[in-house]
């Protein structure tokens, strides 16, 4: 018998099984993303060709189309123009079109960034204050309060779309950044309060007591001693809140249109000539993935520790 291995360690077979499952799962999740990224580098014709092209000549047409508005011009007009200054003008010219201006993608994208990060910040900030209070103080009806907070997530948020729509119109919050930040913060708060309360419960009271004896007020102790130790929880919570606010589609369609429209409702409406411009949509979605990806990778270590935090006593 092989005694060099700890009995708690997995055997060769179960390791292989685990690896196989992970690889299969990875392939299943990655195929659509790979296809999407590939599409973003195809030309319009190649994107809709049948059978689908797995190997193709890469083109930046999708990205150019994503960022620009173009119009088709007659050949003799195009010939009369001076030669194109840049590679993207040349690309557009070769399709017998000229660039008429920037598209709305960048403003929509920055709306997404403002609203996504804004909502995440407020969800985590307000959530950590509430979680600390619920973790440390005697709050009347604490359990009922916690259950109420949880219950706000028991129905899909869109179930209250109509009242919110009417309310937002009356309050003038429709199609504003503030309105969307408030909405996403409210939806995220229940998650963030519950998650963060768990983390706060794990932080021994001695830390803030030590700080308070050393001359700090409770608020100062909270910011200087408690919050830095809750980094793990805050990172994990921030990722969940960010993913929700970043991806949210239904309310964005319903409540935003011109001013505060985010990227999710905008991207599918990119229409080229004679139908949807798939490479441009692919390019938009690819670029849309990047911030959440960076955000998650940066906080990845905390996320992993966050999920197992408190499972085993240190």
């Amino acid at each position: 018998m092989d005694t060099s291995r700890s009995p708690l360690e997995a055997t060769g077979f179960s390791r292989k099984l685990a690896a196989t499952i992970i690889i299969v799962y990875m392939i299943v999740t990655l195929i659509p993303i790979t296809w999407m990224v590939a599409t973003s580098f195809k030309s319009v014709d190649s994107a809709i060709s049948y059978p689908p092209e797995v190997f193709f000549e890469p083109s930046l047409e999708g990205y150019v189309n994503l960022f620009t508005n173009r119009s088709r011009q007659p050949k003799d007009y195009l010939d009369s123009l001076p030669p194109p200054d840049t590679w993207y003008e040349e690309l557009v010219r070769s399709r017998e079109m000229v660039i008429t201006g920037p598209s709305k993608f960048l403003p929509r994208y920055s709306n997404s960034l403002i609203i996504g990060f804004g909502a995440t910040f407020f969800s985590v900030f307000l959530g950590s204050l509430a979680a600390y209070a619920l973790s440390r103080f005697k709050v009347p009806l604490k359990d009922d309060l916690l259950f109420f907070i949880l219950s706000t997530r028991m129905f899909p948020p869109i179930a209250v779309a109509v009242p919110i729509f009417i309310m937002y119109r009356k309050l003038g919050l429709g199609d504003t950044h503030v309105g969307m930040i408030i909405l996403y913060t409210v939806v995220n708060l229940s998650l963030s309060v519950w998650l963060l309360k768990g983390f706060m419960d794990e932080i021994p009271r001695e830390y803030e007591e030590a700080a308070m004896i050393d001359g700090y007020s409770r608020m100062q102790a909270f910011f200087k001693v408690v919050l830095p130790q809750a980094t793990t929880g805050i990172a994990a919570t921030a990722i969940f809140c960010m993913i929700f606010s970043w991806n949210e589609y239904a309310f964005a369609v319903l409540l935003t249109q011109f001013n505060a429209q985010t990227a999710p409702p905008f991207i599918p409406t990119i229409i080229g000539e004679g139908g949807l411009d798939w490479p441009a949509i692919g390019a938009g979605t690819t670029l849309f993935l990047i911030p959440v990806m960076i955000f998650t990778v940066v906080l990845r270590k905390h996320l992993l520790r966050g999920i197992t935090f408190g499972a085993v006593r240190k």
Binding site: E206, A210, I213, D214, Y216, P228
Partner: protein, 360 residues
């Protein structure tokens, strides 16, 4: 440095009374230990002095000033926690500097004070280390450093050596006491470990069930305990209690024990009860060859420098301390007698020690 006075201090959590109308005076520069079993209210008392709990009623005076209902941050005292509570996100230097940052000192003043405290505790070479990389004893020193860096009026310590291993604990006991003397501190120290208490304290207050039973020097606590609980709690093993079925009257100087009579210190108080106890420490009994109390050896504990014998007698089980080279076997018939005239009579009705020639 300061004198701390506790007057009629009372604390209850709902129905549970943690501290019952306690009174204590902790003198300036004193090393004062609160000793008792877990749940006796010693930590609650300490936390009330610190301002981490507010009293239900009663007062706490720090240098004659009533601080009982002030915030912790307004009391100018320092607290060392059992688990040290070093801030894990700061290095040693920042941990030490943390209490000073509230005092509006210049950077160089802060640095000088941190260095001074670190040198005193011999941790100046660790200032840049992360606290998570420190060994238990060094963490302890950092925790002490953080407490003494701003020279507070008093140090409060809640079982600060509880998590250290035995070898280290003894060393830290010595260091703590030396530190206390070096900086002329007033220290209130909570522990359930009588050895720690005996070795460090100027005075010990023994608490049980929220009541301060006795506050005296270790010697008085050990030799002249005022209640049965104190007599039993202090000393290992604790005092022997031999039931005596006899009413004690003032000026009595012998009692009947089985068939013979035993001389005791002349009593100054009497009892109403017929059921009282004779208290005698295991080391105040000796083995004799004749005219002693007879019994069977029930157990022998070898403790290196001494042996503890448990003797089964008609009076119940009695523990005797003998030299470790004394030869006794289990079930052997032996006789024993008292060594000195320093027995204590406890009133069976209230477990209190009677006044006598010896006790006063």
């Amino acid at each position: 440095m300061a004198e701390i006075e506790i007057k009629n201090l009372h604390k209850s959590f709902g129905d549970f009374v943690a501290v019952k109308n306690s009174n204590l005076i902790i003198e300036n520069k004193e090393f004062f230990v609160l000793l008792g079993p877990s749940g006796c209210g010693k930590t609650t008392t300490l936390r009330m002095i610190a301002g981490l709990e507010l009293p239900t009623s009663g007062n706490i005076y720090l240098d004659k000033e009533d601080v009982g209902y002030l915030r912790a941050s307004q009391r100018d005292i320092a607290f060392v926690f059992q688990l040290f509570a070093l801030y894990p996100h700061m290095n040693v230097r920042n941990n030490l500097a943390f209490p000073l940052k509230m005092q509006k000192l210049s950077r160089s003043e802060v640095d000088a004070k941190v260095l001074e405290a670190a040198k005193l505790l011999r941790i100046d070479h660790l200032l840049k280390s992360k606290v998570s990389s420190l060994a238990g004893g060094d963490r302890q020193r950092v925790a002490l450093g953080r407490a003494l860096v701003r020279r507070p009026k008093a140090f409060l310590m809640d079982e600060p050596l509880g998590t250290l291993d035995a070898e280290f604990r003894e060393l830290m006991c010595l260091e703590l006491r030396k530190l206390h003397d070096d900086i002329d501190a007033t220290t209130v120290y909570v522990t359930h470990d009588q050895q720690e208490a005996m070795s460090m304290a100027d005075r010990i207050a023994v608490m049980n069930e929220g009541v301060v039973l006795q506050a005296d020097s270790p010697k008085v606590i050990y030799n002249k305990p005022k209640t049965k609980f104190v007599a039993n709690f202090i000393g290992s093993p604790g005092m022997n209690f031999i039931p005596i079925n006899e009413k004690i009257s003032p000026s009595q100087s012998s009692i009947k024990l089985l068939d013979s009579s035993l001389n005791i210190p002349e009593q100054k108080e009497g009892t109403d009860s017929n059921e009282n106890f004779l208290g005698v420490r295991p080391e105040n009994l000796k083995l004799v060859s004749e005219n002693g109390v007879k019994g069977n050896v029930f157990g022998v504990e070898y403790l290196g420098s001494r042996k503890i014998l448990t003797i089964e007698t008609q009076l119940g089980n009695i523990k005797i301390r003998v030299d470790s080279d004394t030869q006794v076997n289990i079930n052997e018939q032996i006789q024993f007698d008292t060594l000195n005239n320093n027995q204590i009579i406890f009133d069976g009705s209230n477990d209190k020690a009677l006044q006598s020639e010896f006790m006063s």
